[in-house]
Amino acid sequence: MKKIIKPCGLHCIKVNHLGVSLGNQEILKDINLHMHCGSLNAVIGPNGAGKSTLIRAILGDIPHTGNIEFKDRENGQIQKLKIGYVPQSLNIEKQTPVSVYDMIASYQSHFPVFLVKNRKVKNKILDYLKVFEADYLLDKQVCNLSGGELQRVLLSMAIMDSPNLLLLDEPVSGIDRNGMELFYKTIYQLKEHYDLAIILISHDLDYVKRYADKVILLEKTVLKQGSVKEVYQSKEFLKVFQLEKEET
């Protein structure tokens, strides 16, 4: 991993009283979060707890109440928050003629991808793919990538605009145990070397235990947040995951 920018630890992102309703149904209510750059924040919770909704609300993809602040801790100045996002999967079928270059350039550049390859855009993409050792994938078709390869490509794309906040939806399928290990190691290095805060939606409590700085237990609202130890030993945690285990 190249391009080392030490996290300064001085920026913070605050989510204040965030709520989401769809029709009469309240999906999220009164979410308050406080994150510093250089921290890995894992969101855990049962299925249907609103984890993905939280990410979509932060991205502004669905209407929400409350607000999100991005502050410099030193002088308290409010700045514009840049968000990178890594989705769980893409809407792409087998045989779709879209290469890795096409995909990244369609998001990152205004130069029409159907004309010719733009050398400047190509070099920029290659630079970022190299960060995750994925530069050899540039001309591969996106639909033929393995789960792990796609994840690395999506991560490269997410950090191209040097975001302050990285939102990650952990992949649930197509990645084996080794791939998951690599995924978490990469994320860990990312937060060590880049000046950004990470919110990771996770389905795997073991990995969260090993890698997260802070855990947020979510079920419609934040039931408990704090260090791994604090959350994993709380009665709320036991209640939520004990119940789930009995069901399955």
């Binding site: 990410i55 979509r56 991205l59 502004g60 993809d61 968000i83 990178g84 996002y85 989705p87 893409l90 809407n91 792409i92 045989q95 779709t96 003629p97 879209v98 290469s99 270059y101 096409d102 995909m103 350039a105 369609s106 998001y107 990152q108 550049s109 205004h110 130069f111 029409p112 991808v113 159907f114 004309l115 010719v116 390859k117 001309d139 078709q141 996106v142 939102l167």
Partner: protein, 270 residues
Amino acid sequence: MEVFSWLQYDFMRYAFVAILVITPLFGLMGTMIVNRKMAFFSDALGHSALTGIAVGVVFGIEDTNISMIVFAVIFSLLLNQISSKIAASTDTVISVFSSCSMALGLAILSRGGNFSKYSSILVGDILSITVQELLYLLLILVLTFGFWIFGFNKLLAVSLNRTLAKSYHISAAWMENLFAILTALIVMVSIKWIGILIINALLILPAASSRNISENIREYHFFSIVFSLFSGILGLVISYYVNVATGPTIVMIASIIYFITYIWGRKNNL
């Protein structure tokens, strides 16, 4: 020259120019329609042409082209809206609305046993195109190319992942609606020449063939436009010599290209 003897007639020359404009346009649009799995959507749009004409007849609008275009634009936006709101699968929703509107159109147009007057629109007749109509087609081609230059990247981004596109401040709803309107315009402007029954084949086949053998967006566009142009020109010439309708001849050639690319693609991908 004997080979180009068909070019001595004005109607053939116009038809030839029309083919040179329409087929690249269809090749271009088709790439996105196939990528976004909108084949059924464009088919429904084609059928709505009948309803558009019927609406024009009912309201006494002299130029039914206008009512046809207006209706198709509204219809396409409505379909987009409904498919995103209703949880049922999109093809079911489209089918319901398409059949409903087509039945309405057929009922109105067949009143008093007059339907034969409109039946030419089912098959289309490219040989009857006039210079002014050619200019309209050219205008649409320029418009589409402009939209492609400015909007294609965004459209591709939205089709890959809407939320991801949102994180780049690309509005999915805007791009989808613009694309739907453009599709409606293109289908309506060319439907008189191509015909309701086969217009969708011309939109889908070149792109689908190209997809069989392409690995990236540039190849995809290139082959789609080349296949579209090739089937268009060859279809026109063959139909002249064999004396059959031009539209179906073009579609048959495009189908043959599809099967060849399918076999070729399978051989090289396995």
